[in-house]
Point group: C2
Amino acid sequence: MLHSVDQILLDDLTGLPCSAQRRALAKIITLLESTRLDHRHRADEVLNALLPKTGKSFRLGISGVPGVGKSTLIETLGLYLIEQGHRVAVLAIDPSSSISGGSILGDKTRMERLSVLDGAFIRPSPSSGTLGGVAEKTREAMLVAEAAGFDVVIVETVGVGQSEIAVAGMTDMFLLMQLPNAGDDLQAIKKGVMEIADLIVINKVDIDADAAMRAQLFITSSLRLLGFQGNPDHASNDQKLWHPLVMTMSALQGNGVKELWEKIQQFKQLQTTNGKLQSRRQQQAGAWMWDRVDAGLKNAFRNNPAVQTLLPGFIAEVNQGTMAPSVAARRLLEAMGHEFF
Amino acid sequence: MLHSVDQILLDDLTGLPCSAQRRALAKIITLLESTRLDHRHRADEVLNALLPKTGKSFRLGISGVPGVGKSTLIETLGLYLIEQGHRVAVLAIDPSSSISGGSILGDKTRMERLSVLDGAFIRPSPSSGTLGGVAEKTREAMLVAEAAGFDVVIVETVGVGQSEIAVAGMTDMFLLMQLPNAGDDLQAIKKGVMEIADLIVINKVDIDADAAMRAQLFITSSLRLLGFQGNPDHASNDQKLWHPLVMTMSALQGNGVKELWEKIQQFKQLQTTNGKLQSRRQQQAGAWMWDRVDAGLKNAFRNNPAVQTLLPGFIAEVNQGTMAPSVAARRLLEAMGHEFF
């Protein structure tokens, strides 16, 4: 059952854009981020109630190493989109914030011109929890922003750990920003990020146009060597499928923002027509559920009293080599009451 | 309690090398691979009983794409080592065997000269189960081979899925074989395999020496660009730490086998002196236990009656967008009796 307070929040959220809506949006996201059990139950009811109003935005993931110019690009793109009549929400996934306690992403001060506009909503990364937990809160926040009528949702992340994979796994399009140097390119290939990018933007072309062109050539040939010309999901001669693009721009000078948005629109159009946008969202919803099931199972294991009693001794025995790791695992699961496997 | 039949097998296994030992080795591995519950209980007792006799071999992981020349290298190296008085066990991890029903790795016919020698033991990949299950059986088989006195255990795998990561996670040294072409190099970088290699061998130098040299230069500069010169676990100016090496050879012509073994011996010596060999094994034992705990938890989830009842409907609702994936996950875990999270 939906809490009566939450019903009012929901009405505000889906009402006309005004300060009440903005307040409701912030309050609901805070409710979702709460670790209190009663809050979590209420949050689930709210989520299910607003689901029918979600899914109508375009979800754009943006990643790149610190210093690549993500905030500059997002502010420039956001201002351009609001000028065109769009409403833009910017969310962030910053796994490092759970360590430092402070977020290096999504703070309003970085996007000063964008954050003051009525058409924009900027929310920093949830500041505690594992990547899985932080990603879940961001996914949920995305749904709330959609229910509030934001039609472009940008999720940004730094290239820490598996955060790019998490962002690509919750958005319709994944845009990877690269610095014009080969080390950055190889890192992206190594992490498997290059291959999941729908669009690769080499930023800061204003600083070194030659290096940017070299990077563009290297990435293009790398994608070919990695076999993406033969991969039907990425590129083919079939005009119905999207070919990952490599473009250069200067987010600081604003050069290429219009062209960037045109490319994004082309992508959206194509993916809508060929059904990939919908199938990707369905696949993402399934993967999200399984992610959370996995996390919950691990949590249940850690909190099981029998496991807590046995675990320290077993770990010591495994370390000393007096118990085989596979035997230890099976005995811990038996202690939990799970069938032997 | 150890089964009396298994006690006899264990006595044979750890007795003098003879046909009885070889038979015991094969029988115990078959017991470990059995999916019968009573066999699994017996297998665990056997494993714990033989543990004190394990750990004395050098564990060498070898990977590379099909056609790179793994069998040729292993046979050439194996024959060389047996000539030097070593006893060599060759195990395999082939995740594709669970799909095809047949193993493309580790079949004795591929290593005709090695397989007939008393000092060699060759065991194909377990032919069913997930990668995690196949890897577990291979880890356990490695312990049995060690208890039987094999002092070099080679675990080979094809570059399918995460099998290289599994092999690197159970061996003292990970040797990556590469073909002399840039596509192969980029694939290895993309999969994160290059960075976990202790030694990279570019094979088939006899076919194209120029291409092999280019590959050597490319890999060396890639490792530098990926930052491994600054990574204390891989390379540094500190002579106490191992620097990953890139060498060329022709396994077919036997060129470089002696040099290869010398490098492996240098690695072993250094890792023993600086304590990395032992810390790596401890870390691997812990990771193995957690891997199996994860697999067991997923198994318990799948087999839970309440989950089996609810899951199909929940998946449909998540697909249709009428239930949030995170809500579905939490309700499934509650149905299992796990605390809300």
